[in-house]
Amino acid sequence: MPVINGKIHHFRPYGLLNGLVILIDQETHSLWDHITGKAIDGSLKGYQLEVWPIRFITVVSALREYPDIEISMSTYRSIRKWFAATLYPKFIHARVLLPFFFRWTMQSKPDPRLPELTQGLGVVVDGRAKYYPLSVIPSDGLQDRWLNRTLRVQRSQMDNVPQAFWNDTNEQPMQLLTRWYGFAFTYHDCEIYTSSYS
C-alpha cells in the first residue's frame, strides 16, 4: 500500500539492482526494494510499506474463481512496451532468459543453491523466508512444518500455479511467485523446501 504517514506517495521505476527493479517515490526521492516494500535509501530509509500477496493466474482460472473480477488494462502505446510484452509474453511456467544487462547490476553471483532462473513460490513470514521450487510441489500439493505451524502449498488444477495457506487458519502468508535469483538476493538466508522423495 503506497501510503506513508497518511499520505499517498507516487512511485516509478528508478533502476535495476541485482537484476531487480528499484523504485523511487516522487515525494521524497527515496529508493525502494520492490519485493520487500522497504525503503533502502533516502530520507525514508528503513520505512516499511504495508505489503499484500499478489497472485499470478490465467484468465480461465480467474474467471472461474472470481466471476466478478475487473481488469485494468493499459492504454499506453510505445515501441518499448511492445518490445517488453513480445519478449516476455508468459512468466508462470515459461523458460525465460535473463537479459544480459541484469548481470551488470548484480553485487555478487546469484545464490548457487538452485539454478538462477528456477521458478518457485517464495513465502515470507516475519522476516523469515522459504522457497518452494515448482519442481518439488506435487500436483496434489504438499504440507510443510515450518515456524511451528503447518503450511499447505497447493497448485491450482487449471493453471498449476501454487499458493500457500496456513493449515490452522487457512490464511495466506506473504508470498510471491518468483525466480530464484531474485528471491535469494532479497532473502539471503532463506530456506529451500526439499521433498523427502527427491
Partner: protein
C-alpha cells in the same frame, strides 16, 4: 544520495512508465482475452482486480485504487 548503490545500480527507470490504473476496471469476462493469458491479481475486501502480466513486464508498476484503498503493484 544513493552513492552506496552507484556502482551497480543501472538507472534505466526512464525506460518505463508506470501504469496509472482507473478506479473502475472493466469486466474481465467482457475483455475477450485468451484463456491462457497470464494475469496478476490483487484482492482487497473481496474485490479483485487483474492486470495483464505482459503489460506489467513493461510498466513494472501499477498504481490505483481498489475497495476505496490505494494500491501499488510492482513487478
Amino acid at each position: 544520495m544513493h552513492k552506496r548503490y552507484e556502482t551497480k545500480l543501472l538507472k534505466i527507470g526512464f525506460f518505463f512508465k508506470p501504469l496509472i490504473a482507473p478506479v473502475k476496471g472493466q469486466s474481465l469476462y467482457k475483455a475477450n482475452l485468451h484463456p491462457d493469458e497470464e494475469l496478476i491479481v490483487i484482492e482487497r475486501k473481496d474485490k479483485y482486480r487483474a492486470l495483464l502480466a505482459r503489460e506489467m513486464a513493461y510498466h513494472h508498476i501499477a498504481q490505483g485504487e481498489i475497495a476505496g484503498e490505494p494500491y501499488l503493484v510492482t513487478f
